[in-house]
């Protein structure tokens, strides 16, 4: 029965114009970001070479290290698009899964058959997770093919594992918003209201918290960086930041409340966009960034548990939208 409900979810999703529009947008952005990313790698390489030539002509002995030009960093733009467009798509998917049954009066029909409430929820979740897994796999294939065909690069085994883990994180991130959206739609008596509330929660988690974190970042207030404008080296910067430990902890705490930030942090580490993880194996990166993995997994599990409790105990389950 769970499988039947799951299959119905998949069929319904591909009849949903809104979902299909966002999906098309996401796929187009995936292709665009990968092409632009590959192109950026080439430009960065050219710029670096000309900078080195210039510094050498000035007689500088201390030359900047080569920027991170690994091919998998071409997916950097994709992280940002999934962070916004992927989350919105997951919200539409989760909300429609529950609200359509209320709206069409089919919830009463389904539950009057031999379907337990938990089976109903499990089927819905399974169907939607299958859709998200399919989308993640499709974007993954597009990325691999583009990197090889357009970028003309040969990926190492480590690169492939890093990319696979990154797409795993993408799946977990979208799962969070689908679960959140399903949870709010289950608790709410009105589907459209549930959608609005979910969008507000999404705005707070994906825009507001990261924005507050950015605002509190001292180094972010001046173009080019505050510490750099003061002529500080990395070591000196760390020494000064020691004086502002509480402030920095508070800033980090605000950012830690955002699943989008967790997704961004672990993805940037896996894709080598953030320096410092190049020497680690892919699994070591996951180990080092375990807090971000928990930040993606734990809220989904907690919300799903609460959704179960709310749905199983709810008296006015047939209340119309």
């Amino acid at each position: 029965m769970i499988i039947e409900i799951g299959k119905k979810e998949i069929r319904d999703a591909f009849r949903n114009k809104l979902f299909l529009s966002i999906l098309a947008m996401l796929l187009v952005l995936t292709v665009v970001s990968i092409i632009l990313g590959s192109y950026q790698v080439k430009i960065a390489m050219d710029n670096y070479n000309s900078s080195i030539s210039f510094l050498q002509s000035l007689g500088k002995a201390e030359l900047p290290p080569m920027p991170n030009l690994n091919p998998i960093s071409a997916s950097k733009g994709f992280v940002n698009y999934i962070g916004m467009v992927g989350a919105l798509m997951a919200i539409v998917l989760g909300n429609t899964a529950i609200s359509k049954e209320h709206k069409n009066g089919t919830l009463r029909l389904i539950l009057s058959r031999g379907v337990f409430r938990d089976t109903f929820l499990n089927g819905k979740l399974l169907g939607n997770l299958a859709i998200l897994a399919g989308i993640t796999a499709l974007t993954g294939i597009i990325t691999f093919v583009s990197l090889i065909a357009i970028g003309g690069v040969a990926l190492t085994t480590s690169d492939i594992v890093r990319l696979l883990l990154f797409f795993g994180m993408t799946f977990l991130y979208m799962t969070f918003f689908t679960v959140l959206s399903m949870g709010i739609a289950t608790v709410s008596t009105k589907g459209s209201r549930a959608l609005l509330i979910t969008v507000i929660v999404w705005l707070v988690l994906s825009f507001v918290f990261p924005q507050i974190g950015d605002t509190m970042d001292m180094d972010n207030q001046i173009p080019g960086g505050f510490f750099s404008s003061m002529g500080m080296s990395r070591d000196q910067e760390h020494q000064v930041l020691q004086q502002f430990k509480f402030y920095e902890t508070l800033r980090d705490g605000v950012e830690e409340m955002s699943p989008t930030k967790h997704y961004e942090r672990i993805s940037y580490a896996l894709l080598n966009v953030k320096p410092g993880f190049e020497a680690n194996t892919p699994w070591e990166v996951v180990g080092l960034k375990w807090i971000n993995l928990i930040g993606l997994l734990a809220p989904s599990a907690a919300i799903w548990l609460l959704t179960y409790i709310a749905f199983l105990r709810r008296e006015n389950i047939y209340q119309s939208n």
């Binding site: 733009g77 459209s192 969008v199 705005l203 825009f207 507001v208």
Partner: protein
């Protein structure tokens, strides 16, 4: 005129009775207030960090010391640019997405149309009501910002700064009204308010996020060498492709105007308001035109609909 004012007043009342809308405007006001506080605290922390840097460099025997960071008064309020660009636009969408479809679903649109009110007056009334709500909201934020700015930063804005700030809020009003007009048009054309809302959210996401992100990816980066620290910093600069991409995003244009008006760009921080507006005239027109276009389309759609 009476009909228009009655409709406008009804819009205002309806907006302030909607709990979801109250939550989103509460969030908007709260964030703008917090942003001033955080902005001031960060600037104070920067000044403190500067003192620490001087102390550290002196203890290391450095003779060449960096000059203090230039802090322009309005740059303390600079985060409001991002909040209006992102959350402000969403507030306008929340305000307008049920303006017609909601009335249609409740059956009140036919009732209004049966009264001696022309269809264009309905659109004007809704627009005026939305404008009043957005105006009141921005007015509250302006007052809070100014009061907190003086209290927390300890700085007093001069007449030039106040004029710049008022100009910024006027442009923010035009920007938000553009989103409101677009949402109203979608609301006239669709019966499903949830669909209309999500459609506008996709448009908002494209304008406010996807296009600026694409423009960002088209910028070139040069490596700047700091003579004191011998450190290398990446400095981005616009390209034709990034400028062209930004042209399609009123949000990016609004942010460019906001950065100039709120003294975030040192080069334009001390020039007169006229010069700033002249520099950004293209961006201002770009914010105005889409709003006016969708407003005209709304009038046309309302006039031509068989059944509103």
């Amino acid at each position: 005129m009476n009909g228009i004012m009655t409709l406008a007043r009804k819009e205002v009342k309806t907006a302030f009775r909607d709990n979801i809308f109250l939550i989103i405007i509460g969030l908007f006001v709260l964030l703008s207030v917090i942003s001033v506080y955080i902005g001031s605290s960060t600037k104070n922390a920067e000044l403190q960090a500067y003192q620490d840097i001087l102390h550290l460099l002196k203890s290391q025997g450095a003779t060449s010391l960096p000059s203090p960071p230039a802090i322009y008064p309005l740059s303390v309020l600079s985060n409001i640019v991002s909040y209006v660009s992102m959350i402000g636009a969403v507030v306008a969408i929340f305000l307008g997405f049920e303006s017609f479809s909601g009335e249609r679903n409740n059956g009140t649109l036919k009732l209004i149309a049966a009264r001696p009110v022309y269809r264009d007056q309905i659109v004007t009334g809704k627009l005026l009501g939305g404008g009043m709500v957005i105006g009141v909201l921005l007015g509250i934020i302006l007052i809070f910002n100014l009061a907190l700015f003086v209290l927390v930063s300890g700085m007093t804005p001069g007449i030039n700064e106040i004029i710049r700030l008022l100009s910024f809020f006027l442009i923010a009003f035009i920007y938000m009204m553009g989103f409101y007009a677009a949402t109203m048009y979608v609301s006239i054309k669709t019966n499903d308010s949830a669909f209309g809302f999500m459609l506008m959210m996709i448009i908002w996401l494209t304008i406010s996020f996807v296009l600026p992100q694409l423009a960002e990816s088209q910028r070139t980066f040069a490596y700047a060498l700091n003579a004191t620290a011998q450190t290398v910093t990446q400095v981005s600069s616009d390209t034709v492709a990034s400028k062209m991409t930004e042209l399609f995003s009123p949000a990016a244009q609004f942010q460019n105007i906001g950065k100039d008006l709120l003294q975030m760009i040192p080069e334009t921080s001390n020039i007169g308001l006229g010069e700033v507006l002249l520099k950004q005239i293209g961006a201002i027109i770009e914010i105005l035109i889409p709003g006016l276009a969708v407003l005209l389309l709304s009038y046309k759609a309302a006039q031509k609909e068989e059944v509103l």
